[in-house]
Amino acid sequence: MAAAQMTAAQAGVPKAGKPKRQWTRASAAWSAFKHDKSAIVSITMLVIIVIACLIAPLLPIDPNATDVAHRLAGPSAQHIFGTDQLGRDYFVRTLYGGRVSLLVGLLAMLTSLVIGIVVGTVAGLVGGFVDGLLMRIVDILSSVPWLVLVTVVSVFLKPGLTSIILVIGLFSWMEIARLVRTETQAIKGRDFVQYAQLCGVSRTKVIMRHVIPSALPTIITASTTSLASAIMTESSLSFLGVGVQQPMSSWGSMLQDSQAYMQNDILMAIIPGLLIVIVIFAFNKLGNVMRVFADPQVMSGERD
């Protein structure tokens, strides 16, 4: 209570001007990162994985070149992760799978971000009946089991990468909408926004100039978490066979394929799964670090 308020007040955080505040936030986040060993390790691994996936097409190995003589081979100098049931190099296939998983995750996150920001700002700014209605929709959508919703809607869309991205994005924006709404409501009451409105600045301009920038730290934080859950959703859908379709493959669909060969080649089941775990863990950690940036009070022990 009072003690903690005091530490914040004395640390000079709220008193400093805007540029200084940004800097203090960044340094608080950096310090949170430095003191969290699992965050350092996982985020470093994430960076390596992302880079490897990005440069995969530059590698001299064809992910679709089959070599039936060497199918389900173990790791060797030639194939460092071994080969799959058709003798394809599993390392390169894993990287190509990662490209799909990460791409779907990223685009689905952006979709949900757009919907979430629009719904959140509208609900927060307009208020009243519109707010009530939108939030009721948010409540219901977030309590219906996501797997049911996502699969039902995917039935009505043509299978393909776009529909997976859309489906995941369409059902994961609720949390972002809630956060943005709260931020918007807080900002709406602030003097400078009311002043801007009094001066006749248009609503869109107020939103673009003031509301979204102020909510940005929260949005960035929420988007890392949202990215992690989008990757998880995609892998579950692909594993169940209603996600990414052949000939494309993602980590989830690779795991589905590996089910049949688990007894002979467990590595095929371990590698993509491990990568999913690392990537999701790292994005969640990144989200935690970002939260310190968005709300430095998390650090001083006031909130969790």
């Binding site: 009072a2 003690a3 005091m6 004395q10 650090m299 022990g301």
Partner: protein, 365 residues
Amino acid sequence: MADQKRTQTAGADAAPTREAEEGEGRVAPGAASSHELLRIRGLKTTFHSHHSLVKAVRGVDLTVYDGDFLAVVGESGSGKSVTMKSVMGIMPDNADVEADELTFDGRDMLAMSDEQRRCMRGPDMAMIFQDPMTSLDPVKTIGNHLREVLKRHRGITGKRADEEAIRVLGQVGIPSPEQRLKQYPHEFSGGMRQRVLIAMALCCQPRLLIADEPTTALDVTIQAQILELLQRLGKEMGMSVVLITHDLGVVASLCNRVAVMYGGLIMETGTVRDIFYRPCHPYTRALLGAVPNPNESRTGRLESIPGSAPSLIDPPDGCPFAERCSFTSPACTRGIPDFIDYATGQRARCVFSSDELDAKQEGRK
């Protein structure tokens, strides 16, 4: 600064002497009795966080006598709340509390175990807080709150506990206490909740009650009622009261002694009369304005001093008030000044004596 011997020629009623500590066995003037109930020497409290240390209290000496009504005054962040919470032993885990000496009624609190310290909270000293709205457990009835305390500290249970609870609620001025017992905190107004908290304290029959800005969150009319209640109960029950406040207006009518805190240090102590009529520290003077007159009904709100409180992460070497003080000299930044003791019993932590300050002020005009 201690080795910097100074000879002073000052007015007869205010001959300052430099002493590192309050004279042993000497009772502060204006004290209600000569019996030291709480004795604090060299109290330091530091908060740890990932990247910094916050020195919230940097060496506080304070004595509370039996029957005292002592006001600890200072703006937010001056360390007044932290001081008293440290004495209570209810600081969070990330706070380090050190002291040279900490005794209650002659018992050495520093030598006590956590369990012994816990047993002191309630029957020896109890504390009520700023915000009565959040101070009570929202899912427990008022009766539950009171019965729990009665059982713990006085072994009273069952019907007798209810009777005692009703009696105490009546004592703090809560109408129809029988019905109120069954109600939840949210059914009470802020002022009524603060009364409930005071009732909880009374159930423990403490020798010392610490009230941490008990009226800040309340309406002005309610504020006076609560403070009067505290004063009356203090007298009736022979209870010493420490009132933490940032409102000097409150102090004049209630208390017998005042301690002024700033930047984690005590700046000045003395009787209410002396502090108001003859403030010896520039900070106290700034608080009171140019013409201190407690009879003039004015509230010395602290925000009126230009500048802001010093950072406690990296506090300045010298006097914490130097930056905002209108009498600052190079000496002010060379270490924390010692107390000057005045014949009135006042003590002020300033490099200049009261007379020197007066002279400087005259010179400016």
